[in-house]
């Protein structure tokens, strides 16, 4: 393995507080200065070119991006409704972050591996995870029903930032295997304060591991705004670790796709890690247990509505003649069918077997746990009908 030296971003960092300038009277984070932000599609749906990130994407892929985002948004809305109706214990909405997640998810290739947080439903979709396997986690049936190995999509990680170390270690394994694949580690703005995330970036840099850190800066760690996590724009942290940092408009699926593809390809080619800050906004609550009206103003949310990731791609596809009304109606019908499948599948999901909790504690069962399981089974069997429920 050869460590590859990167030219670090030694640009002037005098403008420390650019992100935290409030909208007068609102406390809203402004979109960063254009020069710092990779954008290929404006909020109005106009295509831009960027010298470093030419977009190589077919018309079919463009329509695919729209379809994915629309379907995932519908899934997300259905999940929120199901939680309100008591069918899920909790739901962590991705509303507003569809472009960040589908852009990143679609940049992955076969053989690549992603390590999500607990909000990456869009990436799960892109990797081919059945939404019902995500729903089972939030219903309390299991910890995620998909096969992380087969899909190259790890189980969700709830402990903030812990998965960034797994991603880095996994990338060190990819490196030892001589494989031409890359690893994508997801994290949020709050996670950048975690020691483990910083350790992950140290390890990734020191070993030039083929890992890309994809940070969705949705402006809030539950209620705490970004300025409590960082005095500098997050993407500039990468310079301190010695690898490139890029800030991309996280509500622009084309820019996210282009930037993530480039970073993953650099990793595959042995150029080491990249940190991507996808500048976005959590339109909903942190989870269904949260009340964002206690810590942010409606005006801020209204401002971000104007940057909606799906509306801007729809505008572009329509205006450029890449999609017509029939296409959009088709996606809408597909979303209806998906929502119906998710609803009936979730409600019909059986509880796990009582003994399932004993099943896989160890690969090699231990005698004391086997004895405890037998005690539990005998206790259950002592109730009339053979099982207490």
């Amino acid at each position: 393995m050869t460590a590859v030296r990167h030219e670090t971003d030694d640009a002037d960092i005098g403008d420390l507080h650019e992100v935290v300038d409030p909208v007068p009277g609102a406390g809203a984070p402004h979109l960063p200065r254009q020069m710092d932000l990779v954008q290929l599609l404006t909020p109005e749906g106009e295509r831009l070119e960027h010298p470093d990130y030419p977009l190589d994407v077919s018309d079919e892929e463009l329509r695919g991006c729209y379809r994915d985002m629309a379907l995932v948004r519908r899934w997300d809305g259905e999940a929120t409704a199901l939680q309100r109706q008591g069918e899920l214990g909790i739901w962590a909405s991705l509303l507003g972050q569809e472009a960040a997640q589908l852009g990143a998810g679609r940049a992955l290739r076969d053989g690549d591996t992603a390590f999500p947080t607990y909000r990456e439903h869009g990436v799960a979709w892109a990797r081919g995870v059945d939404p019902l396997h995500v729903m089972s986690l939030f219903r309390g049936v299991d910890n995620g029903g998909w096969d992380p190995v087969a899909l190259g999509f790890n189980l969700y990680t709830v402990v903030i930032g812990a998965q960034t170390l797994h991603a880095t270690g996994y990338a060190m394994g990819v490196q030892r295997d001589g494989a031409e694949s890359a690893v994508l580690a997801f994290l949020g703005d709050g996670a950048t304060s975690q020691g483990e995330v910083n350790e992950a970036m140290v390890f990734a840099a020191s070993f030039s591991a083929p890992v890309v850190f994809f940070c969705q800066n949705n402006q809030y760690a539950i209620s705490v705004p970004l300025e409590r996590q960082s005095r500098v724009p997050l993407y500039r942290r990468a310079a301190g670790f010695g690898f490139p940092g890029v800030r991309v408009d996280g509500n622009d699926v084309l820019a996210v796709l282009a930037v993530t593809r480039a970073a993953l390809q650099a990793a595959r080619e042995g150029q080491g890690p990249t940190f991507i800050e996808a500048f976005t906004y959590r339109m909903g609550a942190h989870t269904t247990s949260d009340d964002p009206t206690r810590y942010r103003l409606a005006a801020e949310v209204e401002e971000w509505k104007l940057r909606d990731p799906i509306a801007r791609l729809m505008a572009y596809l329509s205006r450029s003649g890449l999609a017509d009304a029939a296409f959009f109606a088709g996606v809408e019908a597909e979303a209806d069918a998906l929502a119906a499948r998710i609803r009936s599948g979730t409600i019909g999901m059986p509880d796990p077997r009582p003994t399932a909790m004993f099943d896989a504690v160890y690969a090699e069962q231990t005698p004391p746990l086997a004895a405890q399981r037998a005690e539990f089974e005998a206790y259950q069997a002592s109730f009339e009908g053979g099982e207490r429920s």
Binding site: M1, L165, G169, Y170, G173, E196, A200, F203, E364, L369
Partner: protein, 334 residues
């Protein structure tokens, strides 16, 4: 197998430290997926020299001098294990494992269960543990109860060169994560090791001295202490049966129960603080299982419930021959 091991006679006089070194070497030869990770384990060979010479022979990709970050070491080892490697992590001293506890408890211990067995984590976390070396604070701790209390982990503590040599290889070959505790103050104690023998199973306890009057249980560095106590007791006509527990999770108490049913008396010895330490669990289980055979309550000899003291007085905290014999006297007095 390396020339060094091949050329050596089957039975060698080895220190515990050297036995671990040879065991690691053999595990690396047997399985190319075994990767050692830790602070100073490469060029230096580790602060206790347990990995001495291994980087030179196996290269920097398999014996990795990591950045100085314990959570980073364990967390990246998790990722390597997910990729199909068998990482063996060295934590430099017991007191430095705590920054890695988030990874060990929330990730390492749970990954197999939460993935319904789809993501096994065969990894070993080696920790030199216990006191008695005159060290500054955080270098003499006995953290085994924290890990034994965590479902999903297996915890072993070796006491002698034979178990060190075979145990480390068996822990590496095991399909589950293993916390592997090494008795640092006894790294330099020697014994004969037959490297051509067939080892017994890892997660089992073993009677290391037969006796009739009192069953004394110990693991790691306290096994030698218990054996010394048994020797001293024998001069006074008392016959102690000493059992090396060898594994703290899962506990293998069948031999203990068999012994206590004969002796009716049981003393548990460890350096860890007694309150909610391994001895408390063992006392409860022995009482539940052998209640009608007991002539005395199960007694514990362990560290006091204080932060590990400065080294000039550490011997006052550490169980020694006299404290073990005192407990034996009390057990006999019931």
């Amino acid at each position: 197998m390396s020339a060094e091991v091949l050329d050596a006679p089957a039975t060698q006089e080895l220190t515990i430290g050297r036995a671990l070194n040879l065991g690691l070497r053999r595990a690396m030869e047997d399985d190319p997926k075994v990767v050692l990770m830790g602070e100073d384990i490469g060029r230096l060979g580790g602060v206790f020299r347990i990995t001495d010479g291994l980087q030179k022979d196996f290269g920097e990709d398999r014996v990795v001098d990591t950045p100085l970050a314990e959570a980073g070491i364990v967390g990246t080892a998790v990722g390597l294990a997910m990729r199909g490697y068998r990482p063996v992590v060295e934590i430099q001293f017991d007191g430095f494992v705590f920054p890695a506890c988030n990874q060990i408890v929330t990730q390492v211990a749970k990954m197999h269960a939460r993935s319904r067995g789809l993501v096994p984590l065969p990894m070993v976390i080696r920790i030199p543990f216990g006191g008695g070396i005159g060290a500054v604070e955080h270098h003499s701790e006995s953290p085994e109860a924290y890990f034994a209390h965590t479902p999903g982990l297996k915890v072993v503590a070796v006491s002698n060169p034979v178990d060190a040599y075979w145990g480390i290889q068996q822990a590496i070959a095991a399909p589950d994560p293993v916390i592997f505790l090494e008795p640092k103050r006894r790294y330099w104690e020697k014994g004969p090791v037959d490297t051509s023998a067939t080892p017994g199973p890892l997660f089992t306890s073993r009677v290391v001295r037969a006796g009739d009057d009192v069953t004394v249980l110990a693991y790691g560095p306290m096994v030698t202490t218990a054996l010394q106590a048994a020797e001293a007791a024998s001069t006074e006509g008392r016959s102690l049966e000493v059992i090396d527990l060898r594994t703290i999770s899962p506990l293998d108490l069948e031999p203990v129960h068999e012994s206590v049913r004969r002796t009716g008396r049981c003393v548990v010895v460890h350096e860890a603080p007694v309150t909610l330490g391994p001895g408390a669990e063992i006392a409860a289980r022995v009482t539940e299982t052998c209640f009608h055979s007991l002539e005395a309550p199960v007694l514990r000899v362990g560290g006091y419930d204080v932060p590990y003291p400065p080294s000039k007085v550490e011997e006052l905290l550490l169980p020694d021959l006299d404290r073990v014999l005192d407990a034996v006297d009390r057990a006999m007095g019931f």
